[in-house]
């Protein structure tokens, strides 16, 4: 089987597909690409099934040596690889693709025609970094087999990519939104260095927590939870499946890609929308993807 050798691994480079669903009742969140929009676009561009596994790089990219000819696409943020982004590109056997530090957001995806052919664990190739389900972060010397998930011809390069926006995160009300006033929507928050795939920790104006005790309950992806210190945490792809902190808001599905591209020290603010607005925004994003 042809494969790709990891020459250098970067900061946190993992194999991801769209996630491992159906295990939350065992306390295992879906994981999957932090910017699923970018992974799906990359897969569509190289002619893969949308859910094919690709490589997710974080802040500092990896280098890959191709042991066979391949068609690849880099999507997400620009990690200075010297290839056009959001475009299928042919790579020859023996060539090395070098990614460096991010020049924009937090994550860059490498999709390969055929997908990354690692074995699936519980139905998914995704790495759940914190628990080790699905494997571990890549290291120099690892060999990534190229799979057989190509289902159509590669697409033409994307003409324009929907902008990521200015750091505003659109949210719908969370299950405890009545227990909060609108402090969350007034301030600007900074993404803390302690953020990871499990959660984005924010620093900024205190959001006063509602008084009273709350029973532990299920927590969805993108939930904005507020612990007693009033500093919001946005639950991300490797989030805990249950939690006991109140949740005034939840980031909308169409803005998950913004979460995936937030860097430490990045600035965010919150804007409340209705569920209908959230679904319309998601539909627009889907239409762009299917226009590829």
């Amino acid at each position: 089987m042809s494969s790709i050798r990891v020459v250098s691994a970067g900061l946190l480079t993992t194999v991801q597909d769209l996630g491992r669903f159906g295990w939350a009742h065992y306390g295992i969140s879906a994981s999957g690409a932090a910017d699923a929009f970018a992974l799906r676009a990359g897969n569509l561009l190289v002619g893969n099934a949308e859910n094919a596994a690709g490589v997710e790089m974080t802040l500092m990219g990896a280098a890959f040596e191709f042991q066979a000819d391949a068609v690849v696409a880099l999507t997400g943020s620009d990690f200075g690889a010297g290839l056009p982004l959001w475009s299928p590109v042919e790579v020859k056997a023996g060539q090395t693709l070098r990614c460096g530090p991010s020049q924009s957001g937090a994550r860059c995806y490498l999709c390969v025609r055929g997908g990354i052919g690692v074995p699936k664990v519980m139905g998914s190739a995704s790495t759940h970094v914190i628990t080790g389900v699905g494997g571990r972060a890549l290291r120099a010397g690892d060999l990534l087999p190229i799979g057989s998930e190509a289902i159509r011809r590669p697409r033409a390069a994307a003409k324009s990519v929907p902008p990521l926006g200015d750091g505003s995160l659109r949210v719908t009300g969370g299950p405890q939104s009545e227990s909060f006033s609108d402090e969350l929507y007034r301030g600007t928050y900074t993404v803390s260095e302690e953020s990871n795939r499990m959660g984005l920790r924010l620093r900024g104006p205190v959001v006063p927590s509602a008084a009273g005790h709350m029973l532990t309950e299920g927590a969805p992806l993108g939930a904005v939870q507020v612990p007693p210190d009033g500093q919001p945490i946005i639950l991300f792809v490797e989030h805990q499946t249950t939690g006991g902190y109140p949740k005034p808001a939840n980031v909308i599905s169409a803005d998950f890609r913004r979460l995936g591209q937030l860097r430490p020290r990045g600035q965010v603010s919150f804007e409340r929308v209705t569920i209908d607005q959230a679904l319309r925004l998601l539909q627009q994003q889907e239409q762009w993807l299917y226009g590829l």
Partner: protein, 213 residues
Amino acid sequence: MTIRPASDRSLLVVFGDRIGPESYSAVVHLTHGLAGARQVLNLHPAYTSVLIDFDPRRYTHERIEALVRACMETPGPPAPQPRQVEIPVEFGGACGPDLEDVARHTGLEPERVVEQFTAAVYEVYFVGFATCFPYLGGLPAELATPRLAAPRKHVPRGSVAIGGHQAGVYPLASPGGWRLIGRTRLRLFDPQAAPPPLMRMGDRVRFVPEARR
């Protein structure tokens, strides 16, 4: 029963705000009833609620709500015989650094804390948190001890703990604020092996003291 959106892709079903047999049996009924339904991506059962994740491109909140109501009106299959799980535990010392604190708080000798803790039969209410953490009901009321004021950054894998009126076992090393009274060598969860985890919703659990090595 109240049903409300938790996000644009999830619905939260709440059966009251009190932990008890009625709300819990409703949680079990809904969780089993919706397990494997094609409209559902993930189920998050908890003490009195179930969170349901779905794909908003395919289904609406109204559609999932109708599914929930239909499920609650349909009698479920008779409850299966609960599985019995025994957990060998080394109590106190380095394995249970908070045993002395629990003893002080409860006014019991550490040996009595262990006796009472191991005499009880626990039920796995649900499994959640970060990977296969079993939330256990059935802690003797005398042993209830508040959580730590500031959570530990590192709780070792297999730590057996008391958090308020609940008991639990940490499946993986993680941060945590519960009181650690012992540790088991059993692996509750093995990322290399296919789940299900050692402890599942509805299981009956006993802790068995193990001599200090």
